[in-house]
């Protein structure tokens, strides 16, 4: 008998039920507890095994969850995991499906076991086992050679987030800092466009002096960060007081899946908001997993056009006199002529002029204008505008997908215009338009380091810096902390990251740059398995997993909870795997600075030192002996309202913008637009407008008739876990394509298809689904690149970055192409 898909027999459904799904697997009758189990055979492996040790540890990848592990092991080998099952069930950091698969990673036959050196061409992935002595000698001599030949500003530490721990990447940064430093990364791949542009609207640390005072207003001021609880409200605040949640490209059920992470926060938000008669609106090109189960929440939109939707909503509010003019005059610069700065007065450059068709492009941003761009019907736009305007406490929040487009600098600000226009920020239940807040409370720090070099490149620019760094300046490449780079990058240090190729962009182009050994002369990679990036190593080091050493890390992103875990090892590192701290100490020894590097502490003594420093500063944490025994300490945090102090008293608590106010029109950006060297298709706008962007709206053509984008997938955290068969089996790598687009191409569910973009070609299985807007296809990001780079370069692993074109965005110089692609699909 098969599961019957057409069963429509009588059922009773509960009106207004709130839980997405409460499945209750229950036994039949009688008392369940306190009975002795039967003694017959039949239980599975984990259950029958007796374990002799429980070790605490954590998930240390980059979803931000840092969920808690309790490893059950026997004879020094982990057998299974329990996660956080302690205390209040609401406050448990329960690992997601990925964390629950960590044992597969730990005990994977694919683990790197020995130090290796490259023997083939760079990128071919051919290596030969060497001794630790040889590896450390080579690394030390190459570091010395590059520093002596070019200087420390030829060294770059590549963006890498595969390991968040107090002693993960920090030992390498400490070592390099002591050797004279390295070029810094500016921004990051998660929030690149947002992090660069938002300070011009909500405040920049560049306008603060050393004491944190505003340089002209001479009082403390708030600078923008995407990672705090000052500039955005917590989800728990929405739970407490909002009556309407509007999500732009935000799906915590995919990006933050762990049980003390935003996915759990959001489940409570939905229940609370609905109990007040409100609802959730999910504006997304996919019916994402956060909205699954709740079909009324999905408002489909063409990706990369959020700014057009927001402009049309603004138009409705202005036309219907629903904007909060008093708020805009008092708290903002540049809404209309009344608050334009002197340099821009009388030139029709205000936001209102842009929206109403009297400035900039002289086009009125009506819902009818926005409808064909966004694919949202004009009436739906009007209804949404009215719904938000009618809400007492709208909580408007964007994920990081909308800004990860080639027009991301404009999109991220355009979304923030919604709460600004109606004065709904800094008040109970509202938000600033940013992603939900992140925790203000980190309980412990990492091994300290201080890079003497301030020179910084936007993180996505490293490939250009390898290729022609000496030509890169502040005004042509966004170099920060200096007018220009002196050197090309000659030494890349890549610890626990897959951003050399897989997670960077335009793999085919990047391969060309990296394969040329006359450009970057030495690449050091540390990892636990053979990632695509690892194939480009000159020396490849096998790292110990965090569960194979004493591990400590404070909490991740969840804002209603903070914690610290101290524990392990649950089992010993296999073969020759070592901790990065011990290896860096050995490299330091080659330079005669081992004692300075270690300060006389072992790895485990550093953890105790860092814990005790954190405990002293916090005042509430257990002692070292106590935390060693209990493994974990956690506590709840109060809800926060973003920019509450500014809203309460903007004179006493200004923003760190030049004016101290929200700068809808930024004079600084206007100046940058006039002075930077930009290509013809690159525009920097002083106000948030809708611009299509490179490979954005309107760029499809006969050869590439579909928009294409990427999204976070259940089976991976970026590319972490991308080799675990148990995860791939339950959440496979599939191309999302609407039936309307699939049928035209004769593509059926399960077909293998070819996806081509201007940058490359992949092979992938088709998931034909109405859950994606017609005209757009989507590929789960993070799959492992698998192509013959000496042959046809067709990527059988279906990594989305085979399709992205390397073109940094106009202002942030960021990874906008990550989600802005054009493509064609055909049956393979």
């Amino acid at each position: 008998m098969l599961m019957n898909e057409t069963t429509l027999s009588r059922r009773t459904f509960v009106k207004g039920s709130l839980a997405s799904l409460a499945v209750a697997g229950a036994a039949g009758t009688g008392a369940l507890y306190g009975c002795s189990p039967q003694s017959e055979g039949g239980a599975g492996a984990g259950e029958t095994a007796t374990t002799d040790q429980i070790s605490w540890s954590q998930c240390n990848v980059n979803c931000g969850g840092n969920c808690i592990f309790q490893w059950h092991s026997q004879d020094g080998k982990v057998l299974y995991m329990e996660s956080d099952n302690t205390g209040d069930a609401d406050l448990q950091a329960r690992a997601c499906l990925r964390g629950r698969s960590m044992r597969r990673w730990l005990n994977s036959p694919d683990r790197l076991m020995h130090p290796m050196k490259r023997v083939g061409k760079r990128g071919e992935g051919k290596f030969e086992q060497i001794s630790w002595d040889e590896a450390i000698d080579t690394i030390a001599s190459e570091l010395k050679r590059v520093i002596d030949t070019y200087g420390n500003d030829a060294i770059y530490v590549n963006y890498a987030t595969g390991m968040y721990s107090s002693t993960g990447k920090q030992p390498g940064l400490r070592l390099l800092s002591m050797l004279g430093g390295y070029i810094n990364q500016g921004y990051d791949y998660s929030t690149n466009m947002l992090q660069a542009i938002m300070p011009h609207m909500y405040g920049s640390a560049a306008n603060l002096d050393e004491d944190g005072n505003h340089v002209t207003l001479k009082k403390p001021a708030t600078a923008f960060s995407p990672y705090d609880a000052v500039n955005a409200s917590s989800f728990s605040e929405a739970e407490r007081a909002s009556d309407l949640v509007v999500m732009f490209g935000n799906s915590p059920a995919e990006t933050r899946m762990g049980g003390a992470n935003a996915v759990w926060d959001f489940a409570k938000v939905r229940e609370a908001v609905e109990s007040r008669g409100g609802r959730v609106v999910s504006i997304d090109y996919r019916l994402n997993e956060t909205a699954s189960g709740h079909p009324d929440e999905w408002l489909p939109i063409r990706p990369g056009t959020d700014a057009a939707l927001c402009s049309a909503i603004a138009h409705e509010w202005i036309a219907n006199d629903q904007v909060d003019k008093e708020f805009l005059d008092k708290y903002c610069v540049g809404y209309d002529e009344d608050t334009m700065p002197e340099s821009a007065k009388g030139q029709n450059k205000s936001y209102k002029d842009y929206i109403m068709g009297t400035g900039y492009d002289m086009v009125e941003k009506t819902p009818e204008w926005a409808a064909p761009i966004t694919q949202v019907p004009a009436d739906t736009i009007r209804a949404l505008a009215a719904e938000i305007a009618a809400a007492e406490a709208p909580f408007i929040v964007q994920g990081w997908g909308p800004q990860r487009h080639t027009n991301g600098e404009d999109t991220t600000r355009a979304i923030c215009m919604l709460p600004i226009l109606i004065g709904k920020l800094g008040l109970p239940g509202t938000n600033t338009g940013q992603r939900e807040a992140e925790p203000p409370t980190y309980l412990v720090g990492g091994i300290p380091f201080s890079n003497p070099i301030t020179k910084t490149i936007p993180v996505y620019q490293w490939v250009n810096a390898v290729d022609h760094g000496h030509e890169m300046t502040a005004t042509n490449a966004g170099v920060m902390g200096a007018e220009k780079l002196n050197n090309d990058i000659k030494f890349i240090w890549n610890y626990a990251g897959n951003c050399l190729t897989n997670q960077h962009g335009d793999i085919n182009y990047t391969h060309e740059i990296l394969a040329d050994e006359s450009k970057c002369e030495f690449i050091l990679v540390w990892d636990t398995v053979m990632t695509d990036s690892a194939k480009y190593a000159d020396i490849l080091l096998p790292d110990a997993m965090r569960s194979e050493q004493l591990n400590m890390q404070t909490q991740g992103y969840s804002e209603f909870y903070t914690a610290v875990v101290v524990g392990g090892p649950a089992q010993e590192p296999p073969a020759e795997c070592r901790s990065s701290y011990d290896v860096c100490a050995d490299i330091a020894d080659k330079f005669g600075i081992k004692d300075d590097f270690t300060e006389g502490r072992t790895h485990d003594e550093w953890i105790q030192y860092l814990y005790e420093q954190g405990a002293e500063a916090d005042g509430n944490m257990p002692t070292w002996d106590e935390i060693k025994a209990q493994g974990m300490y956690k506590r709840a945090l109060e809800p926060v309202i973003g920019l509450e102090a500014f809203r309460t008293d903007p004179t006493a608590n200004p923003l760190a913008t030049p004016s101290g106010k929200i700068e809808i029109y930024s004079e600084t950006l206007a100046e940058i637009a006039n002075t930077w060297e930009l290509a013809e298709d690159e525009v920097i706008n002083p106000i948030p407008v809708f611009t299509p962007g490179f490979q954005g709206y309107g760029s499809v053509n006969d050869e590439y008739p579909l928009y294409c984008t990427g999204f976070h997938h259940k089976s991976r955290t970026h590319s972490s876990f991308g080799f675990i068969p148990e995860l791939e089996q339950v959440a496979r790598q599939q191309l999302w394509i609407n039936p309307a687009d699939a049928e035209q191409r004769g593509i059926a569910q399960g077909d293998t298809v070819s996806v081509k973009s201007p940058a490359g070609e992949i092979r992938i299985e088709a998931k034909v689904t109405p859950r994606i807007v017609p005209g757009t296809i989507a590929i789960p990001q993070g799959a492992w690149h698998k192509a013959d780079m000496n042959g046809d370069r067709v990527d059988e692993g279906a990594c989305v970055n085979t399709l992205t074109t390397y073109k940094p965005t106009p202002y942030a110089k960021g990874n906008g192409p990550a989600h802005s692609m054009i493509a064609q699909v055909a049956k393979a």
Binding site: N85, R100, G293, W298
Partner: protein, 189 residues
């Protein structure tokens, strides 16, 4: 599901718990390319329902598959001959023949954990706190308004499952409009 796989040491090809993805509806494109839609999607996390009238025990020729004192249904591997009748009888596809053991293998409700006063590993694992465990009476008290079947599950009259579900809004759409299971390969169906 992955917590279960970890705890019971099940690889990619073996599972005691599955998540069914069910979806339906469509997007309509207007001449100006705008979209209207009635799309829905939801998930059902499903394992053995430890039925009051288990189909698997009825067909078991040796009595290996049985309902124990706790009300949990599982195969006694000392009696099981691996004939596979139980796998054919169960409308929820809960039992399967383990290729290595050549014996029936399925969720036993984590009976050892339950006996120790714990909940099954899946219940404790669920990040959304969407799973609960107890007697049907307790669960009905804690979660008013549950039903014992939603699309596409068999009607409850087949085996009288001890499974209580709070249907989502999407499940109501499915009851009205129908749809399909879209992850048969992943769910092993």
């Amino acid at each position: 599901m992955l917590a279960c796989k970890d705890y019971r040491d099940l690889d990619a090809d073996r599972t005691f718990r599955r998540v069914i993805d069910y979806e339906g509806g469509s997007c309509e494109l207007a001449p100006d390319n705008t979209v209207t839609q009635d799309v829905f999607a939801y998930h059902i996390s499903l394992s053995c329902n430890h039925c009051n009238q288990p189909a698997c025990t009825k067909v078991c020729p040796t009595g290996a598959m049985h309902k124990d004192d706790l009300g949990l249904v599982w195969p006694d591997t000392t009696k099981c001959i691996g004939c596979g009748y139980c796998t054919m009888a169960c409308p929820y596809h809960a039992p399967r023949i383990d290729e290595d053991l050549k014996r029936s293998s399925k969720c036993d409700g984590c009976r050892e954990r339950v006996a120790r006063g714990l909940t099954p590993i899946c219940v404790e694992a669920c990040p959304l706190r969407a799973l609960d465990f107890g007697t049907p009476y307790e669960l009905s008290e804690r979660h008013p308004g549950t039903v014992r079947s939603i699309v596409p599950m068999p009607d409850e009259s087949a085996t009288s499952p001890n499974l209580l579900i709070l249907p989502s809004a999407a499940a109501e759409c499915a009851a009205e409009k129908g749809g399909s299971i879209v992850n048969r390969a992943e769910a092993g169906l």
